[in-house]
Symmetry: C2
Subunit: 357 residues, 2 copies
């Protein structure tokens, strides 16, 4: 963990906007940053100690007025160092009605020495990067070794960072993609880094027919609750690894229930309680889960490479803390971002009106 | 409620720092602002409707490493309009070890139409103002009419806004104050607005002897959990109204348990669940509570003016939303604050790397 709190006793806050984040990636290189993030997640989560890292299950407001949406927060603390709170808004009507992304997120970092707000960063790009990197670390641990055929269902923003991050840990020999919206599937090629093999676009029906050829599958859809599954897995190869990243809400799942329930399929939750509530694991009991993400990264699970595995990626607030800290660690020496002083050390802490005199 | 979300579809965020808040108060006048805040709290809370205003009980991280402290958040939503999250750090060693306030707080306002972060404001001053104004609205509703003798235990920052706000709803004829630290008690006069009568400084023993002369009492101490009570109330007059604002933690109470338990004393909680957990009411059952803050402000409770009453003010996140919205409403036409764009509407919402090209 990068220490973001060491020089923060002056109460200043570092703001990182989209342009600052882009400048970090341009300065260090997107591939380099992604490699670093993958290593950092593997390192920090592999050494996860629940007495040193505390998190709260995400909670928030879920509403139907003025229209369906939610605002929720995901808090994590590195004991003795920093508290991170990612606040996420999800408003599915944003793209159509306002030309805005459906997900808007920011991450705040607080110094546990002083309580001061150390940094506030845009977190929509951060979320896509950390979700991709999380899939990469688990793919690296449990997917077939050597070049792979990768299938992707859902070709939106998450697909880009999923494919990109996985390409950093496995050579992607073939890439087969599908989307309910054909134009989204077809535009994917133009959104992927150039080094990645050109995607073969299929219909959902065609996609189900090539499942037997896949080594790794990513599901990254925004299927409505109750409208899954998004793939048929009757012909899944015996070593298929799935990164299922869309499920994050009660009733919202992407995989066939029978497949997830199959005792031969190893379900790897990122956050056990959260996966049981809103992940692919929502049909399972805790005793039916495989090793969790931290256990997978803690030691070698070579045997899983020849088994059917599912990474149930609901999104862990600790991943948000790690990616935000990494951006801050790069931004500071590059002198990127804007420093503001929302607060100031008062001369007399007993005088609330001091600034008025 | 001021509508803070109406013009926010551009994804910009208004930052209000301590100087911006001071400038608002200088422009409109502190007395005017406090009067307006008192009216707004009375109006909004008196019309409180739990289907229109939702709040989450405050929660957070409480730790002993690197030293005792906590970071917690207090969320409230005005349905169809705005979500407010105040994040509060409490680090009692800050003043001695770092010259920083023990409480550092910021409030974030999110638009429930888009999920965007509309405003981020310093909230330490806001907290002192809203806590004072909350005591004022309850004092106005249930304390003796006409000029009053006011007693204050604890002469820190909160005492200033308590006395100031109460002075806007009752003429303070006599002001008797005490503090465990004599110098804090003596410096209070210099921190109060000039129009307020000079405080008579007493020892705790002398203070207990003048209890019989008081009409209204404020307790605003940072007594350690388990170290209360901070006053003896054996000679409390039959109409005494107490604004107890220090209790906000399990075990931390300021008033004698026997007094709070006395069935003739009407305990007015601000947030029932929170008061039962960490307020003066932590020794009571829900059935032993009087009308809550919203019920008090909803209609006339004239009869309570001749009874012993306690306002159990643990701090309501809705108050934080109201005071933050009021500052934003003044700052915008005055062109105060700094507008930043952490996020931007993308040309292609499916392309997370758009800003890199």
């Amino acid at each position: 963990m990068s220490d973001v709190s060491s020089s923060s006793q002056d109460l200043s806050t570092l703001l990182l906007d989209v342009d600052d984040l882009a400048a970090v990636l341009e300065n260090v290189g997107v591939d380099f940053f992604l490699d670093e993030l993958i290593r950092q997640l593997a390192f920090d989560i592999g050494r996860f100690d629940p007495t040193a890292i505390e998190h709260k299950i995400r909670t928030g407001f879920n509403y139907d007025t003025p229209e369906h949406g939610l605002i929720e927060w995901m808090p994590t603390m590195v004991v003795g160092d920093v508290v991170s709170v990612k606040t996420v808004g999800y408003h599915p009507q944003n793209p159509v009605e306002r030309g805005l992304p459906s997900v808007l997120a920011t991450t705040s970092l607080y110094d546990t020495n002083t309580g001061g707000l150390v940094a506030l960063t845009e977190a929509t790009l951060l979320t896509a990067l950390r979700t991709g990197a999380a899939s990469a670390v688990i793919t690296q641990a449990v997917a077939k070794e050597g070049p792979i055929t990768l299938g992707v269902v859902g070709c939106g923003a998450q697909a880009v960072t999923q494919i990109h991050a996985i390409s950093r840990v496995r050579k992607i020999e073939r890439l087969i993609v599908t989307d309910v919206d054909q134009s989204t599937a077809e535009s994917l090629a133009g959104r992927l880094p150039e080094a990645i093999v050109a995607p073969e676009v299929t219909t959902h029906t065609e996609f189900d027919e090539v499942i037997a050829d896949l080594d790794v599958l990513v599901t990254a859809t925004s299927v409505e609750p109750g409208h899954g599954p998004v793939v048929t897995l009757d012909h899944a190869p015996e070593h298929l690894h799935i990164n299922a990243i869309g499920a994050d809400f009660p009733g919202k799942t992407e995989l066939p229930e029978s497949y997830v329930r199959n005792p031969d399929v190893v379900v790897i939750p990122d956050v056990i309680e959260q996966c049981l509530a809103e992940g692919e694991a929502q049909h399972l009991n805790a005793s039916e889960l495989g090793p969790d993400m931290a256990e997978i990264l803690e030691r070698d699970w070579h045997a899983l490479r020849s088994q059917q595995t599912i990474f149930d990626s609901t999104g862990w607030s600790y991943e948000d803390l790690i990616v935000a800290s990494l951006f801050v660690a790069h931004a500071v020496p590059l002198e990127l971002g804007t420093v503001v002083e929302l607060q100031r050390a008062p001369t007399d802490p007993h005088d609330p009106y001091e600034t008025l005199r």
